[in-house]
């Protein structure tokens, strides 16, 4: 019953996903047209290009005018009143948005601000909103606490993140391919069973997984951090949806040409589904970077911790004396890689997240 409900909700979401994906494919196709146009425009002389640009500008102006002309006003006064009301309304909307944006940004700002303060400035009242003489000492302290364990934790996390990502990309693309294209008995049953497991909270599994890993001697080892996250039902589902949208004709064409399924998989499916794969890669990396409970449970020694758990244990609030500035420096260090990744892969991350609904 509940699995059915779940699949229903997911399907209701995917109908829009399907469309979006097809349009993605289409827009990529249209991109190639654009490049052709660009090539043509290179042939044109400078003056011709100028002329074209002027034409485009005029068209834009015309369109803007037309959209304004849709409104009908009795006289100028009415038009002015309408304009003024519109401006006031827009002003309120922008003010509201700016306020919300500021509230969103305050934690980031306060984190960096605090990380650059000395202890004396930290406890000063009133607080300074820009550090008077910014010091980078806190960053040095953060890196050198307990013989530079923070750096080791970052290294651990990067290693685990990359290996987990590689493993889960391999396992989920293969499984998604099987679910999307291969015919075998019980396919739909197995798939809905997998979807049903997404309902069950991970907290339920962590205890038995701990005993499993402990009995295999995996405590404080890298594989215990990697293998359990080496696959994901959600990524499987996500990739399957993508693979399913690839037209059957391509498959038959490949078959007619005497290609095997696997050749078709590597030569056709993976290149077409590349954006989805990139999304999976990024989400998996973010997930590893944010993982807390499992690493905390499995890695009990100081050496094998991952970044989130390590951050808490190294710079916990119960250290005695206020060390907020050092803690904030460490937090900044931990946050920067994610923000950098976001800056580079904004499109893929936002697209992936809007279709998923998971947080690592």
């Amino acid at each position: 019953m509940d699995s059915e409900l779940l699949t229903n909700t997911i399907n209701s979401n995917t109908s829009s996903i399907d469309l979006a994906n097809v349009t993605n494919l289409m827009s990529e196709a249209s991109h190639s047209d654009v490049s052709v146009e660009e090539n043509i425009s290179k042939v044109l002389t400078k003056e011709e290009r100028k002329e074209r640009r002027a034409q485009a500008r005029e068209q834009k102006k015309k369109a803007a005018l037309q959209s304004k002309q849709e409104l009908y006003f009795e006289n100028d006064a009415q038009a002015k009143r309408y304009q003024r009301a519109r401006h006031v309304k827009l002003g309120f909307i922008y003010a509201f948005l700016v306020l919300c944006a500021l509230l969103t940004l305050i934690p980031f700002y306060w984190m960096i601000n605090t990380s650059l303060k000395t202890y004396d400035e930290l406890i000063r009242i009133p607080a300074t909103f820009f550090p008077e003489n910014p010091v980078f000492e806190n960053y040095v302290t953060a890196f050198t606490t307990e013989n530079g364990l923070l750096l080791r934790y970052i290294g651990n996390t990067l290693l685990v993140a990359v290996l987990t990502m590689l493993l889960s990309v391999v396992t989920t693309t293969l499984a998604a391919f099987a679910f999307a294209r291969l015919e075998f008995k019980g396919r739909e049953l197995l798939f809905s069973l997998l979807l049903a497991t997404m309902m069950i909270p991970g907290e339920m599994m962590i205890m038995t997984n701990f005993t499993t890993v402990a009995s295999l001697g995996g405590l404080d080892s890298y594989w215990a951090l990697i293998i359990p996250f080496g696959t994901s039902v959600f990524y499987m589902f996500f990739l399957r949806q993508n693979f399913k949208q690839i037209p059957n004709e391509l498959y038959y064409a490949a078959k007619v040409d005497g290609n095997s399924d696997f050749k078709y998989f590597f030569r056709v499916m993976i290149p077409i589904a590349r954006p989805a794969l990139i999304t999976v890669i990024i989400l998996s990396m973010i997930g590893s970077w944010n993982a807390y409970l499992w690493p905390r449970t499995v890695s009990q020694g100081d050496e094998m911790k991952l970044i989130t758990d390590g951050l808490l244990s190294l710079f916990s609030t119960d250290m005695g004396g206020d060390t907020s500035n050092i803690r904030m420096a460490a937090t900044t260090i931990v946050s920067i890689p994610l923000l950098l990744a976001f800056a580079f892969f904004k499109k893929y991350i936002m697209r992936g997240v809007s279709r998923s609904g998971i947080k690592g």
Partner: protein, 367 residues
Amino acid sequence: MEEVKVVNENENVSTDIFASAVNLTSPVQEVVETDKKEKLSYFARKRKEKKAEQAQMLEWKKDWWKALICLAPAMIILAVFTFWPIIKTFVISFFPDYNYLTDEFGGFGFESYSKVLTDATFWRAMLNTVIMVVVSVPLSIIIALLITVALNSIKKLQGVFQVIFFLPYVTNGMAFGLVFATIFSPMDYGLVNQLIGLFGGDPVHWTGTLVGSTIPYWAGIFVITIYAIWNGLAFKILVFLSGIQGIDKQYYQAAQVDSTPKYRVFTKITVPLLSPMIMYITITSLMGAFKSYSSVVSLFGESMGNGQDETFITAVGYIYKYFNNVTSSSRGATLLSQASAAALVLFVFILLITMVQMWANSKKVHY
């Protein structure tokens, strides 16, 4: 903006493609229908069906080994780390004397459940969790809706605002819990306490430990709520925005022609047409909020309160409390059963609430 336009244009094209695909497949359906019309004898129909089935079986026979190879890696991992734990946790919860060190199951019984259900800490954890859910989920959904509608009605800077509102998503949840703990520092010089001081109020013990003082309950819940809203808005806004941009503009134009007031447009057009998204978000954020643990740990430390007080313990925190005792103390090896029972109770609770939610929404959601 341009991207959106492109998508809108292409949608028509893609529906055309779908339409043509439907046309392609429809002859097959017609054949099936004519079969029915011809009223073949029962046996003839059976024979036909069997033949079709056999043809399919041949296909399956060709593919099953490939499927096996493709599915094997994922299935092995899932079997060991997902299916097996679910079964074993369920079983363990019925064996109160289960010892994880020796893997011995004790006598069968419901003792673990009765222990959990009569534990005052468990009910405090549940109460805390329910309060956090009831306060933070509706608030964050309403705020996200307001921001989305505002975002959708502007053209300039829309992209910039979108990125800013998305930023909290790409942060490490634990790390920003620490940041919030700093902002809500119990000292006089904490940012929030200074703001309170500006208006002449007394500093409040928001988070952390202070000698001779405890965190007031409302203050802790307030900090948790603020952090939960800040952390959860990004995803909600993103989903709502993609939903709102999919609403047909004609509805709004019709409303404009009738000069419908803005709030009526919001309650009669935007919210009903967004209701699938709202339901999706409600369910996912309910599930998420019921499992909140790490945010509370990062704000109040491992003890989830003042020292050993556990004032703000959550349901998941309760499970881990027992689980941690399992791994740390020698006596604790048999506590695993109780932790499993608590996990199952929580699961059933979430399941019930989700089902009630879905049932309630199935009457209101407009697809």
